[in-house]
């Protein structure tokens, strides 16, 4: 059982899990799960060397967070879930798996002053629905059995479109506005089009999660108040 802080994002209650206390004067690490997953029960081994607290968020419709009626998910909405967590945590380094990697990129570009490095890793939902629409259809969604993950989340977020130039825009914002040298590290082996475009941008380095965290951990001095 992890220590949970309940956060309110509009009508959704989000579960922010504290997986390890760490040094409370150091910047926290925020883990973002993949599509259909939830926050892990314990800190993953590759985060062992992180000096600060290790936290993990359950996205809307996942884990212990609210399952809304009638779907309507977008990655941008999940980005706002993460922003709700940042309102609680302040500056954080983000590690995202799959869907969480894409959302981690979005928030790194949208809140460059708060996200001190984003690590993008493999996981479920990495590709999304591709870079442009394919043959259209309106998928049938089964009613939820009440437990996570929300079937609508699985449908909506496996179809959401991720144009490479759109993804690249978020890298450029992180580059120009974060003030850090390597705002994005790509640990994923998979290369959907959006991620290939991200890797091609300046300011993006390929590295394992552990190496990327060593880099961000070295920059992770206690905040000056």
């Amino acid at each position: 059982m992890t220590d949970i802080t309940w956060l309110q994002h509009a009508k959704v209650t989000l579960a922010l899990h504290r997986l390890r206390e760490g040094d409370g004067n150091r910047r926290p690490l925020l883990l973002l799960h993949g599509l259909g997953e939830q926050a892990p029960a314990a800190p993953p081994p590759e985060t062992a060397a992180w000096p600060g607290p290790v936290c993990a968020l359950d996205f809307t419709g996942h884990g212990r967070s609210t399952i809304p009626a009638g779907g309507g998910y977008t990655s941008e909405l999940l980005m706002a879930d993460v922003d709700t967590a940042l309102a609680e945590l302040g500056e954080a380094t983000v590690v995202g798996r799959g869907l969480g990697a894409y959302v981690g990129l979005l928030i790194a570009g949208a809140r460059p002053e708060l996200v001190r490095g984003a690590v993008l890793a493999d996981g479920p939902g990495l590709a999304g629905g591709g870079g442009k629409p394919s043959s259209p259809h309106v998928p049938t969604v089964e009613a939820s059995d009440g437990g996570p993950p929300d079937p609508y989340a699985l449908v909506d977020l496996s179809r959401d479109l991720r144009p490479p130039d759109y993804a690249a825009t978020f890298v450029r914002q992180a580059n120009q506005l974060s003030g850090i040298d390597w705002p994005v590290h790509v640990a994923a082996i998979g290369r959907p089009d959006w991620l290939a475009a991200v890797v091609a941008e300046p300011g993006v380095r390929e590295a394992s999660i552990a190496d990327a965290l060593t880099h961000y951990g070295q920059e992770n001095e206690p905040p000056v108040s």
Partner: protein, 297 residues
Amino acid sequence: MEYPGARRPDRRRTVDRHGLQLAVWEWGEESAPPLLLAHGGFDFAGTFDVFAPALADGGWRVVAWDHRGHGDSEHAVLYSWDADLRDMLAVLDTVSRRPIPFVGHSKGGNITLQLAEACPHRVSHVVNIDGLPSRNRAPDVADHERTKMLAGELSGWLDFRRGAVGRARKPGTLDELAKRRQRMNPRLPLDWLRYLVTIGAREDEDGWRWKIDPIMRFGGFGPWRPEWALERLPGLGAPLLAFFGTEPEPMGWSTTPDSVARYMPAGARMEVIEGVGHFIHIERPREVADAVLEFLS
């Protein structure tokens, strides 16, 4: 409150979409052939109170619904284009399994085009009222400028979401709400907007409030590219009648016949109504209804 030519729907019912309640409104005989009417963003079915009766009196069962979060439909937790499309299909499933005509204004027109492509077996005719996509873009700006522009949009949206817990719409008198709406609908008569307040707003102890979910706001950002919808237009199989106004206004799509001519499917009809803005069917209900009835006959 009354307005010349306005008639409230003959029937109201509710469609349950996996726990989300959608308000459905109908004008005309229940046994008449059905057509589906889709309103635009930030509107509600009651904005068809003059236009829909004109179609119903022409022999149609006119079915409209309030989009999620709009009018008398439930405020949802999440909103998206795909969710609106699914809601539309859920309403359609309660009306007919056979192909029927669709009439859509603005965003409702654009969603209809997507449904017609995804489910061509459900759509017999498409009438689009200032809801065709276009290539309109912000004028070219330097790359760095564009980044700053997007950054402002993103942080503004996130700040708005951070402040959204328990947010309520601002109360006011009936007149104040009508005048507030007139800023976005500057061409529509104030008496019409007052009439809309009595349907699209509710009276609380401290005043009137628009029913629309306060989490919704204008503007925004996202991955969608207008050319994706444009590229689909030539493949539309159902007959298409598209209306264009000539007067620019805040809610308008600024799509001109010239800008979409090369994308129009074979046989499509383009009707340009001179001297009207975005709400063509509200400014000229009789003229638009007659053209629609003739197109469907």
